[in-house]
Every structure is written in C-alpha cells, then in structure tokens.
Symmetry: C2
Subunit: 445 residues, 2 copies
Amino acid sequence: MDYFFYPKSVAIFGSFREGSIAREILRNIVEGGFEGEIIPVNPKGGIIEVAGRKFEVKRRLTSKVDVSIIVIPAKLVPGLIRELKGLTKGAVVISAGFSEVGNVELERELINAAREAGIRVIGPNCAGIFGVYGKFFGSFEVRVRKGGLALISQSGAFGGAALAMGNEEGVGFSAFVSYGNAADLNESDFLMYFADDPNTKVIALYIEGVKDGRRFFDALRYASSRKPVIILKAGRSTSGARAAASHTGSLAGSYEIYRAVFRQAGAIEVEEMEELFDAAKVFEMYESSGKRVAVITNSGGPGVLATDKLEKLGLEIAKLREDTVARLKEFLPPQCSVRNPIDLIADADYERYRRTIEIVCEDDNVDALLVICVPPIFISSGEIARAVIDAKCKKPIVVNFMAGALVREGVALLEEHGIKNFPTPERAAKAIYWLSLRKGDRVIS
Amino acid sequence: MDYFFYPKSVAIFGSFREGSIAREILRNIVEGGFEGEIIPVNPKGGIIEVAGRKFEVKRRLTSKVDVSIIVIPAKLVPGLIRELKGLTKGAVVISAGFSEVGNVELERELINAAREAGIRVIGPNCAGIFGVYGKFFGSFEVRVRKGGLALISQSGAFGGAALAMGNEEGVGFSAFVSYGNAADLNESDFLMYFADDPNTKVIALYIEGVKDGRRFFDALRYASSRKPVIILKAGRSTSGARAAASHTGSLAGSYEIYRAVFRQAGAIEVEEMEELFDAAKVFEMYESSGKRVAVITNSGGPGVLATDKLEKLGLEIAKLREDTVARLKEFLPPQCSVRNPIDLIADADYERYRRTIEIVCEDDNVDALLVICVPPIFISSGEIARAVIDAKCKKPIVVNFMAGALVREGVALLEEHGIKNFPTPERAAKAIYWLSLRKGDRVIS
C-alpha cells in the first residue's frame, strides 16, 4: 500500500471551484510540499491557481498515477473506476451517498468495478489519507506535524478532530487514514500495513465496529507484536452501541467480546479521546516500562498527586536503594526529601535536577522517572527543561511541566528535543501506566 | 474577613530590590488595578518605581491599613506583628522558616503576638491571597480572570500552578488563598467565609490534611449547603499520604475517613487537577442538574463517545417524548438521527442547532443538554456558537466544541457569553455528572 502513503503521483477528480472539497484537498497537497506529479481532473478542463501554483485541469486522466482521489457524485464513481483501469493503483473515494445512506447496491457496483480494474479502494464516504513522510496530505483535514503516530479512524469527523487536537497536544503523525464505509480496504489492512511501516512507531485505531472479527484479531495481534496499538472503541455502552449501529451500519456487537479481543491480541485500550493522545505521545517516545517509578518534583503537592495516581493505577513507588539515598543526601539541601517522591523544593535549579535524575536513573530499583516542574521562582523553566534534556539516562522519563504560559519556554525546549510534556501530574502518571502495559505483554507473532 | 479580600488599604513589608518577592507582590497589586492605598514599608526607606508608579518606601507603618503583607525574615515576624497592633486588621505572612522546617516555637510566638495584637493571620509560609472583585492581587502568583471560583489551597505551589492552568482552561476566579502552615486561619475559616461571599459561586479546596476534623466537617457542611464545594485531597494512597505528611507536617489520616466526611458534608470530591477545573467551570455556570441528558452533535463518533461516558458515569440518555421526535422530524433532513444522541450531521448550520436545542429543551424528559460541534465544513464554528447562545433554554447546556484552532472562533464567542467549553466529549459528559451530584444532595444548614 506504499502507493497510498508514499505516492509518486496523484490525480484528483472533482469540482475545483472556490470552496469545493476537491480544491481544498488539492490545496492541502500543494501546501504540504508534495514532490510528485499532481493532476487535477474535471471534464470541463480549464486553468486553476491553487496555493500560488497554476494547474491545467485535465479533461480526463491519460497518464498513470499511484493514487486517485475521487470527489465526484456517488452515482458516477463506479464508471470512473472502470475508466481508471491500468491508470491508477489506488483510489480514495471521498464521495458519500453509498451504503451509509442505504445505497448498498451502488457500493457493490463500485467494489465490483474496482476488483475488475485491479484497483484498491479506501472509502467511500471517507475524509481521505495522509502519508506524512511522503509529504502527501490527501485530505481536506488540517495538516499535522511529522512524528510516530499512524491514526486509523472509522469516523472521518472523529479523525479530523483528532488530527487538530493532536496538533495542540503535541502529537506527531506518520500517517492518517479515514476509511469510511470500508467497502474494500478496512481496519485490518491498515493495521497490517502500519505494523511494518518503518516511520510508524505507534498505531491508534478509532472504531465503532468491525465486520470480520477473525481477521481483525489476527491483524491486531500481528500489529501489537510489532509496536503499540492503541484502540478507542466507541459504542461501549448500551445507548452508545445503538447509536454507533445507526451511524455506521456496522454491528457494534458486545463490548465484552471486543475487550477480550483487544486484550488477547495485546492491544492497549483507552476509554477517552484525551487518553488516546496521551498514550500516543508516550509511545512516540518509549517502547515500554516496568512498574517501579521514581517521582522527582520541585513542589510537594503535585508530587503527592502523581504518587496517588501511580498507586491507584497499580504502579509502584520505587523504593530507592540505600546508596542512591546516600548519594542524593550528599549534595541536596537538607530541606529536600530524598524519599520517593523526591522533593527538590522550590529553588531547585538545573544542577539539582540533572544530578538527581542521573543518580536516580542509575538505581536498579527504578524502571521509569516522572519529573515534575511547577514554575520555578527565580530561574526560567527552560533551565529545568535543559536539565532533563542533558541528564544521562536511558530509562523512560515522563515530564509534567505545569501551568501553561508560565512554563512555555521549558515545554518548547523539551519539544525541540523530542520530549513531550504532559499537562498534569495525573496524566503524566497515566502515561507511564500505558508504557507499563507493554512490558512482558508482547505477543510473539 | 472582608478586610483580606476587599481591602481598602494595604501595607507590604519586605525588600523591594529588583526581583524580590515583596516587589513582585507590589507590582501585582499595582498592575491588578487596586484602588485603595498601597504602602511599601522597609526600614531603609527610599523611592521605588513599580509598574510605572512611584512609591515612597515608609521606614515604618504609621497609619492604619486593612491588610499587611509580610515578606521579611522569619525571626523578625513576631516583633513586626507586635508593632502592628492597632495598625492592621489582617496579616498575610509569606515568609517561610516556621513549623514547616521544625521552628515550631517561632510559629507559636508569632501566633501569640497576633492574638495579643488582635490581628488575624494567613500563613506563614504561604503564597498570598487574591480578592479578585476587590481588585486586590496580594500574591506573586499570576493574576487571573474575574469569575465565580474561590480557590483555597494548602499548597502554595499547587495553588500557583492551578491559577495559571485555570487561566488556560477558562476558569474565572473570585478569590484565591494559599494558607500555608495555617497557624491561625485555616481551611475551615475560608470555607465559612466564601460560603457567604456573594461573588463566589463555587469553592475549590486543595488539601493534604486538616488538623481539626470536627470543625472542618461543620464548615464543609455549611459551605456545601450554600454552594458547590469541590475538594481535591492529596495523599489518598499509602505512599502519597506518607509524602504529604512529611511535606506539610499535617496528619494525612485515613483517606476512608476523609471520603466519608466529604460525602456526608455534601462536598464534591474530584481525584485529578483537570477534574477540579472542569467541575469549577461547570459550577460557575450552573447550580445542579438531573440525570437525564440529551446529546446533540454534528458528528456521529463524538456523540457516541459522549453517550458511552454518560452511561458509564450513571447518567441517563434521555428518552425523548414522542412529540419532541415528531417536531424534530418535521424540519430536520431525513439523514439526521432524531433518537438521542441526536445527529444533525456534517452540514448542520445555525438554524438546525438552535431549533433542535430549543425543541429538546422543552422536553420534560430532558434535564440537561450536551452540545457537540466538530469543525463545520462550510460555515464557521462561530455560527454554531451563536446558535447555542441564542437558543432559548433554561436548562444546563454543556458544550464540547472540538479541535482547538479549528473551533477557536466559536469557543471565543461562547466565552464572551459566559459559556465555557469542554475540550472533549468525555470531559463535557463528566461536567454534567458533577452537576448531577448536587441535585437533591443539598444539606440543609
């Protein structure tokens, strides 16, 4: 499926008038820096200018492309697919008006046409795809930062919202696919593909229901054996399942069965959108972690909140070795607490943080570090960020720099070095929890 | 205690050199627009300029003030308090170095001096106070927007971080008090005070432990009978309690006892910082709600996620009356779902949202509305915001406009009209849950 996510050429079929979806997609592709050939197609022809670049609109496609994006009226789609035989490898059908509104026959016709033409289809009724490393933004959704997350979404609107929120939450993306009605390619195909995609470190899947449970289980198990797979399943409650069924037409099925499948396959289930981002963020940074956590903070209260949450999640507050405690006592002011949580107190500076992180990191009773920073009083948050960046430590460090504008400098500096910030002590604690679910839970494929 | 939160005059004792805490507090008071008299005091005297205003530093206080803020070395504080007899009603002692570092005797001396002088004391070892409606920002912490929340924090650092985060989360504040060692006034006094403060709609309390449990219970019950009281108790876990004890010196006690006290007193306990903000936000808008919720959305997926969360929290997905369904069917396009969750689909505009909200609001099977908006495709999010604002409805409406930058216009417009946005469907659902805890749970005082 590389031709979808790393295409060398793309054709876009639709109306290119101002404000149209096809034009928005074209704009996104141009502005996203796509380096391959871009061919807009419409029977009316003409010249258009998009994002400062002029295009001749072809009346029909005559040369071969990797992928075609189709935004034409539903009833014309099967005919176009037949015409594209030999001209395109893949088709992304944005057009709606198929099985989701009861036009099951039209969707069958589309799929038959695609099978005959040897074309693989994403959609119909989808929001498109992004191949971020291929600089290919084949969707009208907001473009995203490059990173490790491949987001697979059954719902286009959910996907779009998640991309925009991911941008704000500091998530980086490798790819996005909204697969809509899944007439041809579905969640299982994408799981298999991204499992082997070298730019994807973590896969997140939003589903309401799947059609082929057996194949899904196999794909999920395979993908989870290669990298973390995060799942947000909508339709867990009775009312939610009923709503999902009416919304996607897919059988939501018993949530208990889904849960068992997720667990057995080694996937990581989250229950909220926010958790999806937090889990994705932490898995962009680290593969897994043990359960014994050391908390390092410059303020007692937030350290206690992190400790409460860690314990509630079944993690352990690491018992530091005697020699670790002794080494900390040697250079820390006497008011600091050297028991875990380690309180470096309000005037903690670069050196205090860096040395503490390094000493604690060497303790073999410690699997991961949770580093908290409330706005320091006499120095910038950037100094503390620098300490986290410079500290020599191979174990997972999850940071909670707290209080928005007051720590913006530190958070930005961390970001530049690939360290993602979690905005509260509890969310940082839960991030370590997600990591701990991967330890020893690997399924051998 | 009005002299603390609505003072007519303030004296500040400390060093006013560049970068000092006393100077930062003075700057905050001036920039915050305090309209009363401001008197900086330091034995060295001199002239200083702060925030564009010149002050003569008095060598000692000779006129009467409502409140004195004290940032001088700990050992000098009792003497100063004695000198202030008859000159100040209240003293906020920022200075640290008392019981929190083992100087119990010095703290006792401070309190004895205050009692003899008839001066009430906040602190020592605290971050100060804000009386937002008195335009009095008597702390070095970041200033906040005017609103309904009085935040009472045992931890100064937690309080400071919470103020800054509250600003980002859209919380509005009536007051803030960091009470530190609570040598004189403590959490119970502030609960009693803010219970009767007309500008305070909701009280939030961060505690690690309390000293006088009986008095605390009475104060909490009284305050909860007047308005919602949100509590975040740190030190719930074994390790957390131990850390809290070493941090504040207060006995954390058994969390089970605290929980029972909170519940019996009618307070609302939250378990995370983020929940504290969300609960505060919703109670700034509404007093309480029943359990039957209608979900209105322009995208199926997020509607399902909200439904799942509502059901998980024990709320009910309202069963709409037959005539409500009929009225909705009359004007909504046939693709819309008129079962709850009500899906207005992607092209929903101002009129579709407004009329739906009004019709659903009139249904007596519905107690509260959860209105979701993913970025609309052909109109601005401001239009949908306007529909929420214009809709005639007296029931609680909790909104989730989703996807950061893409709905910024709508969220800003809602804010202007006092409608606070919740960033995910799940957090909006939980906000209604907080409201539902107040229904019928009122304790009669």
